[in-house]
């Protein structure tokens, strides 16, 4: 009788485990990874692929200047 009670209570406890619920609301702590800045010096980047005459130095202003300059290459009125 005692053994039956132990077995039954174990079975009930095991069944109730399935009723647990994980929180499903977004709390801002998404598992999304953080991205590197575009102007960051990256050890994984291949320097040979960098734009001609430009090198990533981690300087945001220099990168922005490079992007603006590169953008002007699309301006055929400025050639």
């Amino acid at each position: 009788m005692n053994r039956l009670g132990v077995v039954l209570s174990s079975a009930v406890a095991a069944a109730l485990l399935g009723c647990g619920e994980k929180p499903q609301s977004l709390d801002g702590s998404s598992s999304r990874k953080a991205d590197e800045q575009a102007w960051a010096v990256s050890s994984t980047a291949e320097p040979a692929f960098a734009a001609k005459g430009w090198k990533a130095t981690g300087d945001k202003a220099a990168w922005e200047q490079q992007i603006r300059q590169r953008g002007q290459a699309q301006n055929d009125y400025a050639r």
């Binding site: 990874k33 050890s43 994984t44 980047a45 960098a50 922005e64």
Partner: protein, 207 residues
């Protein structure tokens, strides 16, 4: 701070699909997925117009708003990117996007839908810049190489402009003025029609 934007000049686009090809080649985009495509209005009719369309990297992106797993993020340069390791491929973003930018690779007998893929403005994703992992999941990270998106830089007629929003807007404005056009294609006139007193309004006041 630079804010990355695309502008497509419908007067210059010749529907060559060079931008589509450049994007696919540069980013190893799989069959069935087109991050960029050329849309033609009044196709086959005299005066047809084509524009190249991809993700517009919206300032208030609807894809980002509806994503149930919050996989989207916006970089400091205004590029909307997403984390494929978080994406569940539900497709909500594709319904929300007015430009049809989110694409889903399908494979297998039952058309299994994979993780969302879209234009990254050639800025990769949330992996180390220029890494193999980034290249495999998102394609080339040209911005970190000091370059602009391949589609814009490869455009033979320079119809598709990409880069710092202020720079490309100014280039487009210069073209419009050189064509003898004004606010009817540039400013408020796009909504209200060609102004009737352009020169009088534009001329500086004399004292």
């Amino acid at each position: 701070m630079a804010r990355m934007k695309f502008i497509c000049d419908a007067e210059r686009c010749i529907e060559c699909n060079g931008c589509v090809t450049a994007c696919k080649a540069e980013n190893n985009v799989p069959w069935g997925v087109n991050r960029r495509r050329v849309v033609t209005l009044d196709d086959g009719v005299a005066g047809e117009k084509s524009i190249s369309v991809a993700c517009m990297h919206c300032s208030d992106a609807p894809c980002m708003a509806v994503c149930p797993v919050d996989c989207f993020y916006r970089t400091d340069e205004g590029v909307v990117l997403h984390d494929k390791d978080v994406c569940i491929g539900c497709g909500y973003c594709s319904y929300a996007c007015p430009f049809g930018a989110p694409q889903f690779p399908s494979n297998g007998e039952f058309g299994l839908r994979g993780k969302m893929d879209k234009c990254t403005f050639c800025a990769g994703g949330p992996e180390a810049n220029g890494s193999e992992a980034e290249n495999a999941k998102y394609g080339r990270n040209r911005l970190s190489e000091g370059k602009l998106p391949a589609c814009a830089e490869m455009c033979s007629t320079k119809a598709l402009l990409g880069g710092d929003g202020d720079v490309v807007a100014e280039i487009f404005r210069t073209r419009v003025l050189n064509r003898g056009k004004g606010s009817e294609v540039w400013g408020w006139g796009t909504a209200y029609g060609k102004p009737t007193q352009t020169s009088a309004i534009a001329a500086p006041l004399k004292k």
